[in-house]
Amino acid sequence: MRFEVADTLEGAASLLAGEQGVAHVLAGGTDLLVQLRAGMVKPDLVVDIKHIEATRTISESDGAYTIGAAVAGAEMGEHRTLASDWPGVTEGAELIGSTQVQGRASMGGNLCNASPAADSVPALIAAGATCTVVGPGGTRDVAVADIPTGPGSNSLGQGEFVATINLPKKAANSSDAYLRMIPRTEMDIAIVGAAANVTLGDDGTIMAAKIVLGAVAPTAIEVPEAGAALVGTKADDDALAAVAAACEAAAKPISDKRGSADYRKKVSGVLAKRAAKIAFDRASGNA
């Protein structure tokens, strides 16, 4: 295995593209080093992207955020305005691992590692986030939802990597939330994750809503029926019951030692309902 440090986006792309064997980007290493140690990955080349300005910084321009793919969760939580503008996106990223893991774990790594249970992904999809992908052929913008293709696999081509994650300008009277269920209080993998993003009209009624579930399908999934059930309502009990029913129907979970498929389906509804209510209260200025 060779280890290289890239100083520029183009430099990283040409190192990755030039490798004949297996090449991996290194961001926080909280997945990659575990997989290296376990022999699950055997890269010929590892490229550290943390010395590239663009991957390491959070910037804001006219309300839209550009978050470097290698920015650590702890750095997102410390940002002056990101957590208040995008509480759901930030709480998803901050749920990853322990304090120690937070010091390193990035959203870029969480997304590209492509675990179905990745905690930062549902809220990014609900936010309509895109990522800027850099590769030997240049730069392209891709919806976050289109990066993971299944457990452990992503849609990036040879030599491509994610440089930044981009949040659009937040709509007026909108907010978001992310909740997950883990069998323990801390340090576990989600058996269900649920993100909600709602936008209110001038009269306080929901005019747009997105609900996204994690850990209940090979990738995070948007549940359009759940979002539709909220539109035109004030997240009252009937609307929330419809959200829960839509999510239970859409969830296609597996059974494993953390929870049975039936339990995960049930929890999908409960969490989606709660996340929708939190996002609604935040958007109404009541939270």
Partner: protein
């Protein structure tokens, strides 16, 4: 395969070492630099026995490559006592008997000091969440949490 030459700062001193590309910073600290305070409990980020500060941020040294230390600032448990004077976190762990085998202790010391550097007056809940990535198989945690809270109040100048 040629080794990588790394220049870094460890506990305030300039240090140079050679490492394999896949060698972790934990292995470098222990095997190349003979700083054996940091322990390997799991090598997978779960136990916190290998906790260090990297550029002032608490991380697991088992999840950092040695080569990544180039130009960075590494602080290990060995830097925490000043000469023979223990840091309050260390002194209170002793006073409270907050260890049995002691394998987890260096990690707890580094992590707890990092907390008190940022938050001099944490609640018990904040201490427990901050230390959730440090596992102890012996004590049952209560004494450790008590020692950290007691160290915090001593550092704030309150009598305990």
């Amino acid at each position: 395969m040629s080794k990588i030459h790394v220049s870094t700062t460890v506990n305030g001193d300039p240090v140079e070492f050679l490492c394999e590309p896949q060698q972790t910073l934990l292995d470098v600290l222990r095997d190349e630099l003979q700083l054996t305070g940091s322990k390997e409990g799991c090598a997978s980020g779960d136990c916190g026995a290998c906790s260090i500060e990297l550029d002032g941020r608490l991380v697991c040294s088992c999840l950092v490559l040695g080569a990544e230390a180039e130009g960075r600032d590494v602080e290990t448990v060995e830097s925490i006592a000043v000469g023979d004077t223990l840091h309050p976190v260390q002194a209170k762990i002793l006073e409270h008997g907050a260890l049995q085998c002691g394998y987890c202790t260096p990690g707890f010391v580094v992590a707890a000091k990092a907390l008190l550097d940022r938050n001099p007056d944490p609640t018990e809940t904040e201490v427990r969440y901050w230390l959730a990535g440090n596992l102890c198989r012996c004590t049952g945690y209560d004494k450790i949490v008590g020692a950290v809270l007691d160290a915090a109040s001593e550092m704030r100048g309150e009598t305990s």
